[in-house]
């Protein structure tokens, strides 16, 4: 049995690494994958921290939709040669070498100066503890409809933006 803390810390670090990779990489496709990975990891972290509802939304909206738009952007752009890409990549890596360091330093500072939690706990069950299925199917018709609409919008967007322009 591995300690919970270790798992959480590992997930958080992985997520940070994925996020940095997303920012630093020069290839759009990799960036999209990095973003999806970050979102997925964030979803797991949220779930493990006991917020399945937030996790579900994060997964559907961020991972789903933003990736869709990212992919549509890729199709609209043309590519550099792979030599130039590699060259650019090493340049960017050189430029942003300090990013991981920055994250680590920030983590340490946050840990050292951890702010005491002083929430006066709500008497009884808070929203964070509800079961996600019962929430979505029983009390949240509105949000469900909303989610459908978002996906529709995304679909229309992809159809629209993928299509070649008619004139020139």
């Amino acid at each position: 049995m591995i300690d919970d803390l270790v798992v959480n810390a590992a997930l958080c670090m992985l997520m940070t690494a994925a996020a940095i990779w997303t920012v630093v990489t020069v290839r759009l496709l990799r960036a999209a994958i990095g973003l999806a990975l970050t979102s997925a990891l964030l979803t797991i972290v949220m779930y493990r921290f006991g917020s399945p509802l937030a996790a579900a939304f994060e997964l559907s909206v961020c991972a789903g939709l933003i990736s869709v738009i990212f992919v549509s952007a890729i199709t609209l752009t043309s590519r550099l040669s792979s030599d130039r890409l590699n060259q650019r990549e090493s340049e960017v890596l050189r430029r942003f070498w300090f990013l991981p360091l920055l994250v680590i330093i920030a983590g340490v500072i946050l840990y050292k100066t951890s702010i005491p939690i002083e929430i006066i706990a709500f008497e009884g069950k808070t929203a964070a503890q509800d079961d996600v299925r019962s929430i979505i199917w029983n009390t949240r018709h509105l949000d469900l409809i909303g989610q459908i609409a978002i996906l529709l919008a995304g679909a229309i967007g992809v159809v629209l933006l993928f299509k070649e322009r008619k004139h020139g």
Partner: protein
């Protein structure tokens, strides 16, 4: 009725997109327009108390936890009007049937998102519906698939991501103290743990997310590009209602039904209002691009709304709501006119225009009405809402803010006058001899919006005592 307002657009959208109904696509514009018109008529008659709730019989079958208040009615009316204006503009500006059909789809989706935002009473739903509107508007901005539009859209997406992150984080924090995320529950929970660090953090993040959506300085970076690079009908929709509902209306609702107005949150809103009003007006003064100038003017007017909201009195909040409505009307009007001018001249550069009022009289006159209302010239509607805000600020003891509001009025007059002079007045610029008045489907919304502005000003007394003031009093209990 509230349920219908959300279900009907979605149903229309699905029906229009059924593969079998390709024929319906040619009339899609009219179907969308009828839907929007129905919303205007239903809301207006409902407000006037003329008819009972039409869709009430429909409500029990779907549990949507919506609430219809006086404020929602005002907002729904504005949504219907601006959507109509945008659809008519699209009819004039987008020639291709298929393209227009797609545009209609997106507008209907955005309308559904806006209606939902106006009706809901729950933080998570707020986030979801703001997101619907946002996604539709991302695509609307990039609708022409030109590089400007894509760039504007990307800026909006990137900064919206910041807003989304802030909203989600604050919802997560609120969930730690509250049994569910409905406004009432969160408010009750906040009353218990008022001074906690995390609760204040959550409130701050919530406000900041909405500040980005509403385009307040210093969160406005996406707004000028998005407004000016979007196709004309999309910028009518975007400037007229989308940013206003998903940012400003949400701020009004959140700050009145979750936070307590007049507290520290009120001070933050007030300061940002002052900064936005001044910076927006000064930036608008230096613009050459017509739509960009209107965009900065939006930032400035939003500052006014924030000032009214920040005053924390019933009169101030009522003024903010009224200015919200007026701004939706006159800013759509000005953007419709900008579309007409762009359509006729093929440029938005004001230095290349001049004297076109002689060739485009209707556009010229309606544009004067719009800018008079924006600058607060009596007896147009914009004058009354500004006076309400200024008086409320003075009464609430914010004399400085009230003076600033008056001074910004002068700036507003200055930049709109410079626009009128450069675009419409004076001698017709050489090479513009061939231009013609815009098409009927642009003039119809322009004239209607101008009439609404004039009527709301002339009938201020009943509008004020029957609709606006009760809303203000309801919000500041």
């Amino acid at each position: 009725m509230p349920t219908l307002l959300i279900i009907l657009p979605l149903a229309l959208l699905l029906i229009l997109n059924l593969p079998l109904l390709r024929a319906a696509r040619r009339v899609s514009f009219w179907l969308c327009a009828v839907l929007a018109l129905a919303q205007v008529v239903a809301t207006a008659t409902h407000m006037g108390g003329l008819i009972p709730d039409l869709g009430a019989a429909f409500d029990p079958y779907i549990v949507l936890q919506l609430r219809m208040t006086g404020l929602s009615e005002v907002v729904l009316l504005a949504i219907g009007i601006v959507v109509l204006a945008s659809l008519f503009t699209a009819r004039a500006m987008i020639a291709d049937h298929d393209e227009r059909f797609k545009f209609g789809n997106l507008v209907i989706l955005a309308m559904m998102g806006l209606n939902g935002t106006a009706l809901l009473a729950d933080l998570i739903s707020l986030y979801v519906f703001i997101e619907i509107t946002a996604v539709s508007s991302f695509i609307l901005i990039a609708f022409d698939r030109d590089s400007d539009g894509l760039e504007g859209s990307f800026k909006y997406i990137i900064l919206s991501a910041v807003a989304t992150a802030a909203l989600l984080a604050s919802i997560a924090l609120f969930m730690m103290v509250s049994p569910d995320t409905s406004f009432a529950a969160v408010r009750a929970a906040l009353a218990v743990s008022q001074h906690s660090f995390y609760v204040n953090l959550a409130a701050g993040l919530l406000l900041c997310g909405l500040f980005v959506k509403g385009g307040l300085v210093p969160f406005h970076w996406w707004l000028p590009d998005a407004y000016s690079s979007a196709p004309a009908p999309a910028s009518v929709l975007l400037a007229g209602i989308i940013t206003k509902v998903s940012g400003i209306y949400a701020l009004i609702v959140v700050s009145t039904s979750i936070l307590t107005v007049g507290g520290a949150a009120g001070e933050v809103i007030m300061v940002l209002g002052i900064v936005s009003a001044i910076a927006g007006a000064l930036l608008a003064l230096g613009q050459r691009d017509m739509k960009r100038m209107l965009a900065y003017s939006s930032v400035s007017q939003v500052g006014y709304i924030m000032l009214g909201l920040g005053s924390g009195t019933a009169l101030g909040v009522a003024g903010a709501v009224f200015h919200f409505f007026n701004h939706a009307i006159f800013k759509s009007l000005l953007f419709v006119n900008a579309a007409a001018v762009e359509g006729s001249l093929g440029t938005r550069d004001m230095d290349r225009m001049g004297g076109i009022a002689s060739k485009m009289p209707v556009t010229g006159v309606t544009s004067i009405i719009g800018f008079f209302s924006a600058a607060g010239i009596p007896p147009l509607a914009g004058f009354w809402s500004k006076v309400m805000i200024i008086i409320a600020l003075w009464q609430a003891g914010h004399q400085t803010a009230s003076v600033v509001a008056v001074l910004v009025g002068v700036l507003t007059l200055a930049y709109f006058l410079s626009m009128q002079r450069r675009v419409f007045f004076g001698r017709l610029r050489e090479g513009l001899g061939e231009i013609r008045e815009a098409r009927m489907s642009i003039l119809v919304p322009a004239v209607s919006l101008a009439l609404i502005t004039v009527a709301a000003g002339l009938f201020f007394k009943p509008v004020f005592s029957k609709i606006i003031m009760p809303v203000g009093e309801m919000l500041v209990k």
